[in-house]
Amino acid sequence: MALTAQNVTIRFGGVVAVNGMALDAAPGEIVGLIGPNGAGKTTFVNCICGTYRPNAGTALWLGRELLGLSPHALLKLGVARTFQNVASLHDLTVLDIAKLGAAARGDAGSARSGGFFGSEKALEAELTETLLRPLYLADVAHTPIQTLPYGRRKAADLARALAAQPQLLLLDEPVAGLTSQEGMAMAAVIRGVRDRFGCAVIMVEHKMDVVMSTCDRIAVMAAGSKIFEGLPDAVQSDPEVRRVYLGEPG
C-alpha cells in the first residue's frame, strides 16, 4: 500500500470530528470516501493534507509520515488536493492557476520559469497541452477564473493540483455543484488522470452515481469513524451503510 492511514483522530474542543479513522490507497487506485453530512470526511482529508493537525494517528506515504507536515512540504512529497469550494481568485486566469500548482512542485518548476527573469512561454505551452486540453480548459486558458461557470472553475482547481505532478491526489467533492452531465464528464476526467499519471486518488463525494461508476473501492464514514469498506456493489447492499447513509430503518 502506498498510503496507509491508521487511527487518525482529531478533536475540536469536546467534539471528536474524526475518531480512529483508517484508510489505504494504492497507486492507480481511486478510493471513494462517502458518508452523511458531518461524518468527518473533509476533516479527515484536511488532516492528511496538513490543513489540520490531528491529535493522534499515523499516515504513512511511501514510508514517510505525512501527519503534521505542512501542505507545502506535502506537495514536495507528491501529495496534492482540490478544494470543495473553489476560492475566488479574482484576477488570476486559468493558466495562472495552473502555474500556481506548477510552482508548488518546487525544484523543476521554479527553475524553468515563474521567476523574475526569463519567459514563461515554454511552461505555458506545456501546461496547456498536458493539463488544460485534457480538462477541456484550453480555450479559456487566458480567461479570469472568476468569469467561468462553476464546473470549469472546479476543473481549473483540478488542473492546479495536477500541475504539481502528484502521486497521491485528494479530491474534496469534485463534482458537488456541477450538473449531472458535467459531473459525469468530470468523473471521466478523473479516471483519465488516474490512467495517465498512475496516481492514487482519494475522492470525497456525495453523488452516488459518480462514486459508484468511478471508484475502485469505497469507504463509508459515519460520526467520525469508518463503518464499512469494500467494493462499490458491496457498499450498496450492506445493511449498516443503508441504515446510516441511505436513511433506511435498520
Binding site: 484536511n46 490543513t51 478544494f83 470543495q84 469550494n85
Partner: protein, 305 residues
C-alpha cells in the same frame, strides 16, 4: 508612596476616559466590523459642542447632556450616510472613510476655532481634596468617577436590558437577528449613536482636564491599543485595558521617565527619553499581539475552507 498613590489616582481618571472611548470602538467593531478611526473625532467634536453650549450660558449638566445628544445624532448620521452605502466595500476602504471623517472633523474645527488651545469653562467646582498627603483636584475625581460610572452603566445596559440584548443579537449574527425580527440596521445606527455619545462625553471630560484643542482627536489613536489589549470584540476588556493603560501611562510619566533619564544622564549623552508614556501603549500593543493576539478577554475564531 504618596507619589505612587497620586499617580495611580490620576491614571485611573484618565484611564476611565480611555475606557469610554474604547467602549465605543468595540461597540462599532462588534456590529459593523469596522475599526472606527473617527472615534477621536467624536471626542473632539463633543468637547467643542460642550464648549459652545457652556459659553452660550447653559448650566453644566444640561450642556454636557445636550452635547452628548448632538454627538449621538452625528454618530447615527455617520452610519446612515457614510457607512451604509459602503456595505459591500473592502474593509480597508471603510477604515479609510472613517479616517477621512477624522480629517474633515479636525479641519472643520480648525477653521472654526483656530489652532490654539482654548481654556475650557469650568464644569466641576474648583478645588481639591488632600488626604494622606495626596492632592487631587475635583476635576480629576469628577471626570474619573463619571467616566467609570458611565462605562459600568453601559456594560450593565448591554448585558441586562432588552435593548442591550437586541444589540448583542444584531452584533453576534445579523442574519439570525433579522430572522427573529430584530431591526438590525436600526440597532447598528443605535450602536453608532451610543458610541459617539460616549466619545463626546469622554472628550468633554478630557477637555476639563487638559484644555481644548484639535489635538484632542489624537485620543482616538491611544484608544486603539486599549481596544486590542482588551480584545477587539470585548467590552469588559476595553474597560479593564483602559484603566490599566491609564495607570501605566501615569506611572511611566511620573516615575519611570525621570528614573530612566537619571540613569541615561549619568552614563550617556542622552538627556531625554521624550514622551515615553505616549509610545508605551503601542509597545504594550505589540507585545500583546505577539503573546496573546486575541487580547485579554477575546476569544479565538476559526476560518473554514
Amino acid at each position: 508612596m504618596t507619589l505612587a498613590l497620586q499617580l495611580a489616582v490620576a491614571g485611573l481618571a484618565t484611564g476611565s476616559v480611555y475606557a469610554l472611548i474604547a467602549l465605543g470602538i468595540v461597540l462599532i467593531y462588534k456590529c459593523s466590523g469596522v475599526v472606527n478611526f473617527a472615534q477621536g473625532a467624536y471626542a473632539m467634536l463633543g468637547a467643542y459642542a460642550s464648549y459652545v453650549l457652556l459659553r452660550a450660558g447653559l448650566p453644566a449638566v444640561l450642556a454636557v447632556l445636550a452635547s452628548m445628544g448632538v454627538m449621538a445624532g452625528i454618530g447615527a448620521l455617520t452610519e446612515r450616510l457614510v457607512l451604509r452605502p459602503m456595505l459591500k466595500a473592502p474593509v480597508v476602504a471603510v477604515m479609510m472613510v472613517t479616517l477621512g471623517l477624522l480629517i474633515c472633523a479636525r479641519a472643520a474645527c480648525l477653521a472654526v476655532f483656530g489652532p490654539d488651545q482654548i481654556a475650557f469653562p469650568p464644569v466641576f467646582p474648583a478645588g481639591a481634596v488632600s488626604a494622606g498627603g495626596i492632592f487631587i483636584t475635583y476635576n480629576y475625581i469628577a471626570a474619573g468617577i463619571l467616566a467609570a460610572a458611565l462605562s459600568l452603566g453601559f456594560l450593565l445596559f448591554y448585558a441586562a436590558t432588552p435593548m442591550g440584548l437586541m444589540q448583542r443579537c444584531a452584533a453576534d449574527n445579523s442574519r439570525a437577528a433579522l430572522a427573529i425580527g430584530i431591526h438590525v440596521s436600526n440597532q447598528v445606527s443605535a450602536a453608532w449613536a451610543m458610541s459617539a455619545a460616549l466619545a463626546g462625553l469622554a472628550g468633554t471630560l478630557l477637555a476639563t482636564l487638559n484644555g481644548l484643542s484639535i489635538g484632542l482627536a489624537d485620543i482616538g489613536m491611544v484608544a486603539f491599543p486599549v481596544v486590542v489589549v482588551g480584545g477587539l470584540s470585548s467590552l469588559e476588556g476595553a474597560l479593564v485595558a483602559g484603566l490599566v493603560l491609564g495607570v501605566l501611562q501615569s506611572f511611566t510619566d511620573g516615575l519611570l521617565t525621570p528614573a530612566l533619564e537619571d540613569v541615561l544622564r549619568a552614563n550617556t549623552g542622552i538627556y531625554s527619553v521624550g514622551a515615553l508614556q505616549q509610545v508605551l501603549p503601542y509597545a504594550l500593543l505589540v507585545l500583546m499581539l505577539l503573546l496573546r493576539p486575541q487580547g485579554l478577554f477575546g476569544r479565538r475564531g476559526a476560518e473554514r475552507i
